[in-house]
């Protein structure tokens, strides 16, 4: 058995979709090339951009940081990072520490923002409330608000997230199955909000399968936080993911074809289905909001914080 690229006998990966065999060096190079190709094809970066990486310390965000750092080393962009500490005991601190070490290693500006400091409550405390709406609902909304604020404070022109191929395909299928055409218009490699205060978001890893990102960090010996969130539960996303992975066993190209198909219809979807939102301000925090209160503040009001 030999590497299809260089002939090395130490093969570490077999690509099911193409039958390609790769040694460690050729595998690492293939991942980096793929992400760089996405950046170029989708025009995710402009020279002089300051990119804020949403850095949890997990495999996807650490890989995003590593790949974008190659653009920083070529003086194309500047890089900074933010880590959100949701306040989850025995889980989040490891990721925060790993994120800090990566930022120090690369010498980039890094900020850790905690839910407790910003909103006066931790996710653990929210989950002790009897009528909570589920951990992911709060976590998603608070994290998005914190990252957007950090982008403005740090002068970032783009926010990079670690969404991989599996995440994107799950998002496409979930929204399609739920008939959520508005959310369907918001997916993609680059998402721009109607409100100027929301920084453009980019996803350099969206064409790389989750498993390949996991192998990349192990092969490159990058320190990452491999662990499961204690609040992870049987969500709709989990169910959809299971179905897609089952299909992918017999049809190894199915995730790519789902993504390609979505990319082809996205333009029409946006034109026909995108909703126009009112451009207002949240009365409580001043963040952009279509309603009197932004989503984060409406949750805080409900929680009595």
């Amino acid at each position: 058995m030999q590497c299809s690229q260089c002939g090395n006998s130490k093969v570490i990966y077999k690509r099911e979709q193409s039958g390609q065999l790769l040694c460690k060096d050729c595998f690492i190079e293939s991942i980096e090339k793929k992400a760089i190709k996405t950046v170029r094809k989708e025009k995710l970066l402009d020279k002089g951009d300051k990119v804020l990486v949403a850095l949890s310390g997990g495999k996807d965000s650490v890989t995003t940081l590593e790949i974008l750092n190659s653009f920083r080393e070529m003086n194309v962009i500047d890089l900074c990072a933010v880590t959100v500490d949701e306040g989850i005991a025995n889980y989040r601190q490891d990721g925060v520490d790993i994120a800090k070490r990566h930022a120090e290693r690369l010498g980039i500006e890094h900020k850790v923002v905690s839910l407790k400091e910003d909103y006066g409550i931790t996710l653990d405390e929210i989950m002790q409330r009897p009528n909570h709406k589920g951990s992911c609902t709060y976590c998603g909304v608070f994290r998005r608000t914190i990252i957007n604020k950090a982008a403005r404070e740090m002068g970032a022109t783009k926010i990079a997230t670690g969404h991989n191929l599996d995440d994107e395909v799950q998002g496409i299928m979930m929204n399609y199955l739920e008939g959520n055409t508005d959310n369907l218009t918001k997916l993609g490699a680059k998402t721009e909000s109607q409100a100027e205060e929301f920084t453009v978001k980019i996803k350099p890893l969206r064409e790389i399968p989750e498993r390949e990102i996991g192998l990349y960090v192990v092969a490159k010996e990058l320190e990452v936080h491999f662990d499961s969130c204690p609040y992870a539960m049987q969500s709709f996303r989990g169910e959809v993911s299971e179905v897609i992975n089952q299909l992918a066993e017999k049809h190894p190209t199915i995730k790519y074809s789902t993504l390609r198909g979505y990319d082809k219809i996205k333009g029409v979807l946006k034109k026909e289905m995108q909703k126009e939102y009112a451009h207002g301000r949240c009365k409580r925090c001043g963040e952009p909001s279509a309603n009197d209160l932004c989503k984060a503040c409406s949750f805080l009001e409900e929680l009595g914080v």
Partner: protein, 67 residues
């Protein structure tokens, strides 16, 4: 004939049941999906078709979790 398995907190000697016993066979026994773990044989990354040899140290690293 034995090999050592390292997985999370596990560090144990296991029997090699037959000559063509691969990492994929081991994953099936442990009910682990090859999609969620990567495998190392004596410290080096390998594919799941690799045959386990006597005295090998097989380390499994879980890279994908449910949530």
């Amino acid at each position: 004939m034995e090999f050592t398995l390292k997985f999370k907190d596990l560090n144990e000697k296991r029997e090699i049941p037959n000559d063509d016993y691969t990492i994929k066979d081991l994953l099936n026994e442990l009910e682990l999906s090859a999609q969620t773990v990567v495998s190392k044989q004596n410290g080096e990354l390998v594919i799941e078709d690799t045959v386990i040899q006597e005295d090998d140290e097989i380390q499994l690293v879980q890279i994908i979790y449910g949530g």
